[in-house]
Every structure is written in structure tokens, then in C-alpha cells.
């Protein structure tokens, strides 16, 4: 195919490139968004309660915390790494935060700062260990998945921590112009992450490292620094979602966000991120998280058996990844 392109005159080549451009403007996110909209329409048809202010508000609140976790886990995925510890970090952050308030009598601000710093340190250690020590990130963060959850259980003695100031839950339930504050907060964190990935050098270097770490080194990119930043961001976002869980339930639970690292990774992958690195967008993550939340909400509204719901989610992941591969193969054949 390449030979043919080269031997052709200039004009047809340009036409080919325009055709390619069109295909490129329809990335996986588009199809997943279409699927989400389709599910919304179906639910609106089959459940009279789906398209009500109350339910939409619930969905917006439910998706917010999951989406923030998914945003964070995207950074390492872009690097061709992975962070399995985000759920445990969220749990640990919630425990540290609520214990500082309930047991140590600290104010919200102090508790917030301490927790965020702790989260950042955890992330930097993850990044440093996987890059400098050469331990695969899967292993480093698997250790974190276990270790940080253990730490959360140890600190809390395995018990839930009540006694949060009522203002915290009031914030989690508040709305600005009928849009839940949690959702607005999620949008803000999403925009910040999108800005970083799409418009800054650091973000571009994440994609470069995920595409080809060797070439990134050869053009003089400070790979270690970028890797550490990326894992630190994953932990930071996990910490934020852990804090929001505390606010939402008005309690710290050492088991909070158990298993949600996989949901976060699934949202990113369904949203078009590649576990082989170099690909993935914040918009995609959001759509992926929204699709999973919608399915959960729909299953509850329609009374679909909880176990069927899990099967459906599994099939969805398999289908989207297969579809993505199919697309790529077809494009490679054309290209």
C-alpha cells in the first residue's frame, strides 16, 4: 500500500489524507458516547422515573466520584503503566482525613492539607519505584493495593469513623443552579487533567513515553520526572475521591472504594484508553464512567438482577475493546 501511495501524484495523496482525517475525527469516544446516549434513551422509554430531575441529579452525583478516580488512573495508563492502588489510596485518604477530624480534633483545612500531602507522597513513591527501581508498575501498585488498604484498616482498627462536621455532607449534597456541587467539582478536576494532557509539555511527554519510552529518552525528555508526576497525579485524584466519599457518607470507612481501581481502569479503557500506552483522553474517561453509572442506575430502576448487571458490565468491556481493535485493524488495512 505504501508503495502505491508513494508512486502516486500529489493530489490523490492529499485526498487520502483528508479521508484519513475524517476517520480520525471519529475516535472511540464517539461510539461510546453514542452507546451511552442510546442507553439513556432506552431507559427513558422503559422507566418513567429515569428522566426525572431527582434521578438525573442522583446520576450526576454518583458518577462524580467514580469519574475523578478514573481521571487519575488515566495518567499512568497513558504512560503504558497502571495504578492498581487508587482504590486503596482513596480508602486510606478517607481514613486519615476523618480520623484527623474526629479523633485528633483538627479542622477540615488542616485535615485536607495533611491528607493531600500524604496522597502525593504515596504517588511519588509509586512512580519512583516503578521508574528508578525498575519494578513493573503492576507489581509496585499491586503492593500498594494491599499495603495501603492494610494501613487504612490498621489506623482505623477496621472500624468506620463517624463524627464528621455536618457542613461536609451539606456540601456533598449542595447544588449550584440545580447542578450538584460534586459534579461541578468533578468537571473542574476533569478540565484540569484535560488541560494538562492536551496542552502542556508534561502531558505530551506522557503520551510520548507511553508510545515509545526509548525514543522519549533519546529526545532528552526527563522520563523519571514525568513518570513520578503522573503517578503522583493518580494518587492525588484518588485522594480527592476518597475525601468526597467521606463527605458524601459523612463517615470514613477503611473499606471505602474497595475494588474501585478496576472500575476506574475499566472506565478509562471503555473510553478509548489503551493499556499499551500512548492513548486515552479525559473526555473518554468521563464517558466511560458515565456509561457504567448509567448501567448501574438503569439496572436498579428496571430491577435487573444484581448479578446480571455484573455480567452486562463485563460484556461491555469485552465488546468495546474488541470493537476498538476491529477499528484499528480495519484502518491499518486501509492506511
Amino acid at each position: 500500500m505504501g508503495e502505491g501511495t508513494l508512486s502516486k501524484a500529489q493530489e490523490p495523496a492529499v485526498r487520502v489524507s483528508m479521508f484519513e482525517g475524517l476517520r480520525h475525527r471519529l475516535p472511540l469516544e464517539t461510539y461510546v458516547l453514542a452507546l451511552t446516549v442510546l442507553v439513556w434513551i432506552l431507559l427513558a422509554v422503559f422507566s418513567q422515573y429515569f428522566w426525572t430531575t431527582g434521578n438525573i441529579t442522583d446520576i450526576l452525583r454518583q458518577v462524580s466520584i467514580d469519574a475523578i478516580l478514573a481521571f487519575g488512573s488515566l495518567f499512568p495508563i497513558v504512560l503504558a503503566g497502571i495504578d492498581l492502588s487508587v482504590g486503596s489510596v482513596a480508602g486510606l485518604a478517607g481514613v486519615i482525613f476523618s480520623m484527623l477530624i474526629a479523633d485528633a480534633g483538627q479542622g477540615i483545612l488542616v485535615a485536607l492539607v495533611v491528607t493531600v500531602v500524604a496522597g502525593l507522597i504515596i504517588g511519588m513513591v509509586n512512580g519512583w519505584a516503578s521508574e528508578r527501581l525498575g519494578i513493573p508498575p503492576f507489581i509496585v501498585t499491586l503492593a500498594g493495593l494491599q499495603g495501603y488498604r492494610g494501613l487504612a484498616l490498621l489506623l482505623s482498627g477496621g472500624l468506620t469513623i463517624a463524627g464528621m462536621p455536618p457542613g461536609l455532607q451539606k456540601f456533598a449534597l449542595s447544588s449550584v443552579l440545580h447542578v450538584p456541587s460534586l459534579f461541578l467539582l468533578m468537571l473542574a478536576f476533569g478540565l484540569a487533567a484535560h488541560f494538562l494532557l492536551a496542552y502542556t509539555r508534561t502531558g505530551r511527554y506522557m503520551y510520548a513515553i507511553g508510545s515509545n519510552i526509548e525514543s522519549a529518552r533519546r529526545v532528552g525528555i526527563r522520563v523519571t520526572l514525568v513518570v513520578i508526576i503522573s503517578y503522583a497525579l493518580a494518587s492525588l485524584y484518588a485522594t480527592i475521591s476518597g475525601l468526597l466519599l467521606v463527605a458524601r457518607l459523612s463517615m470514613g470507612a477503611p473499606t471505602a472504594a474497595t475494588g474501585s481501581e478496576l472500575a476506574a481502569i475499566a472506565a478509562a479503557v471503555v473510553g478509548g484508553a489503551s493499556l499499551f500506552g500512548g492513548r486515552g483522553t479525559i473526555l473518554g474517561c468521563f464517558i466511560g464512567a458515565l456509561l457504567f453509572t448509567t448501567i448501574g442506575n438503569g439496572a436498579n430502576l428496571l430491577g435487573v438482577n444484581s448479578f446480571w448487571q455484573m455480567v452486562i458490565e463485563g460484556l461491555l468491556i469485552a465488546f468495546v475493546v474488541y470493537f476498538d481493535n476491529l477499528q484499528k485493524r480495519r484502518q491499518a488495512g486501509l492506511g
Partner: protein, 330 residues
């Protein structure tokens, strides 16, 4: 009659042990629970520690962090068996999986007291537990009572939330609830959700239930994390005076919800006593005392009206508990 038998057995244990009081400093009892992560099991540990203090023996408090981790509990029990403690107190996460390891421990000459959830074997000293099915039945009775008080009638839609699939004690609670509810023909179960033992999931599920069924009059949550989540949803939606919420166990959050009228009744087990009596019974068994195969530690119902009464004080706050190995005597 059963009660008499219990008291007799316990008293026998008491005399045997009493005769040798002070000799137990070398005795060591391993207490293995289903999950070290819930307040409920923390209370079991507290009871066991108190017994250890009273008897002057030492205990080890063990368990996997999650109730999902059956394999780890099996491993903990096997390791404990190998170390030959004076006795073992264990709550079986899965009746089938723990059957063989409990057999093995008994065969190795270690008295095993099973608490809270049974193992599928009879080779142990005794099974010391809440009758979960009875607890479920009580939940249904409380729900019917609450609905009657609210609406003046006995009809309406009801939903229930299971914290986790495949746990025997939860299945028993649900079974008791569902069976008992059948005696109120006006009450129909319209929905059943299974969570992953996590409060935020329980919250989302409950919110959606309340959306899908605006005419829902009752929710039953079968453990404390489900109770926390369901309570948060009912309170968020301002439905405390409309929906009858009945939940199991007593987390701090649940107690707050009872006081604020969000949760109408809590079905409270006696985990403190399970831990306390478990250690007692294990030690007594090591000295040859024989116990009946099953001892019911009972369930109580906590409502806004009785939450501050002295009888409930011990259940809600173990520090106020009047201790006695004589089960059923208090």
C-alpha cells in the same frame, strides 16, 4: 428448657475453671473473625479481650480484612491449628470451605468454638450465635409494625438490600425476613439488590430504589454498611418520615440515624457476648466441659424509644455491659 440446659452447662464450666483459677496464664486462645474491618467484629474482639482479662489468659485476634476472602480465613485457621493453641474461637465466613479445617483442628485436639456463622461440620465444641433467621423475622415484624404506625394500614411495597452474595448469615437473615413478611399479605417485596459490602454502593442502590419506586414504604438493610448507605439515601431524599428503614447491627452512623428518625428499627445481635463467651467456652472445653451443639445469643430490637434505656446500653456500648458467661441469664 434450652435456657436451663445452657445455664447448667455454663455453671459446670464455671466450677471446673473456678477450681483452678489463676492457672491460665499459659493458656492462649485464637479468636478468628470473618473480617477485621467492621465495628461488629471489633466488638467481638472487645468481648474476647475482656474475657481474656477476667480469666488471665492470652488471646490472639485474627482475621482477613475482607469477608470476601474465604481462602485467607482458611489459611489463618490452618496456621493456628499448627501452632496448637489452648482453644480456637472462629466465625466461619463460608460454611463449606471452613468445614474441613475446623474438623482438622478438632482432630488435632484443639477445642473449637464456632461463633456467629456455622461451619458445615459437627466436629466442634459448640456453635454460639445469633439465630440470623430469627433476626430476619424480627426485622419483618418491626417493618410491619412501623408501616402500620405510619400509614394506618398494612399494605405497601417493600425492598431489601443484601450486603454480599454467598454469606450464610446474610442469607439466613434475608430468608427470615422474606418468609416472615409473607404473613402480611398486604406487603409485597418489589426489589432486591445485592451490594459489595460497601456503604457508597448501598447509597447508590438505595437512591435508585427510591427513585424507581416512589411509593416504597419499607427498606430492610441486612448489615451495618448497607444500613449506613440506605440511611444516607433516605436522609438525603428527606423520606425519613415516609419510608420504614430497618437495618441489622449497630454502627455509630446507624445509631445516629435511629436517633434522628431515619432508621426505624435496628436488629442488634450480641457480638460482645459472642466474643466473651466464646473465649470462656473454649477454655472450659479445653478442661473437659461438654456443651450443647448450639447456643443462641439472641437478638434485640433497638428503636428510638428504647435506645437510651439501660437494657440497650450494653448492646450499643460494650463498656456498659453487665458481664456474665451465663448466656440468656441477663
Amino acid at each position: 428448657m434450652k435456657k436451663v440446659l445452657l445455664i447448667a452447662a455454663a455453671a459446670l464450666g464455671c466450677t471446673v475453671i473456678g477450681a483452678q483459677a489463676g492457672d491460665f496464664s499459659k493458656a492462649k486462645i485464637d479468636v478468628i473473625v470473618k473480617a477485621t474491618t467492621s465495628q461488629y467484629w471489633g466488638t467481638v474482639f472487645d468481648g474476647a479481650r475482656q474475657a481474656a482479662k477476667d480469666l488471665g489468659l492470652s488471646i490472639a485476634t485474627l482475621g482477613a480484612p475482607s469477608e470476601l476472602d474465604v481462602a485467607q480465613e482458611v489459611q489463618i485457621l490452618e496456621n493456628a491449628t499448627a501452632a496448637k493453641p489452648t482453644g480456637i474461637v472462629i466465625a466461619a465466613t463460608n460454611a463449606q470451605a471452613l468445614a474441613q479445617p475446623v474438623d482438622a483442628a478438632t482432630k488435632a485436639g484443639i477445642p473449637v468454638v464456632v461463633i456467629d456463622s456455622d461451619a458445615n461440620t459437627k466436629n466442634y465444641v459448640t456453635f454460639l450465635a445469633t439465630n440470623n433467621e430469627t433476626g430476619g423475622q424480627k426485622a419483618a415484624i418491626e417493618m410491619a409494625r412501623c408501616i402500620k404506625a405510619r400509614t394506618g394500614g398494612d399494605t405497601g411495597k417493600v425492598a431489601y438490600l443484601t450486603a454480599l452474595a454467598g454469606a450464610q448469615s446474610l442469607n439466613d437473615r434475608d430468608k427470615g425476613f422474606v418468609e416472615q413478611l409473607k404473613s402480611y399479605p398486604g406487603l409485597s417485596i418489589v426489589e432486591h439488590r445485592v451490594g459489595n459490602n460497601e456503604a457508597s454502593r448501598a447509597l447508590s442502590d438505595s437512591e435508585d430504589l427510591l427513585t424507581a419506586h416512589p411509593d416504597l414504604v419499607g427498606i430492610f438493610a441486612d448489615n451495618e454498611l448497607e444500613g449506613d448507605g440506605a440511611g444516607t439515601a433516605v436522609s438525603e431524599k428527606g423520606l425519613g418520615s415516609k419510608v420504614c428503614l430497618v437495618a441489622f447491627d449497630t454502627s455509630d452512623q446507624e445509631i445516629k440515624f435511629v436517633r434522628s428518625g431515619i432508621i426505624d428499627a435496628l436488629i442488634v445481635q450480641n457480638p460482645y457476648m459472642m466474643g466473651y463467651a466464646g473465649v470462656w467456652y473454649a477454655l472450659a472445653a479445653a478442661h473437659g466441659v461438654v456443651f450443647p451443639k448450639y447456643v443462641d445469643t439472641g437478638v434485640s430490637v433497638v428503636t428510638k424509644d428504647n435506645i437510651d434505656s439501660p437494657q440497650m446500653g450494653g448492646l450499643l456500648d460494650p463498656k456498659k455491659y453487665v458481664l456474665s458467661p451465663f448466656l440468656g441469664a441477663q
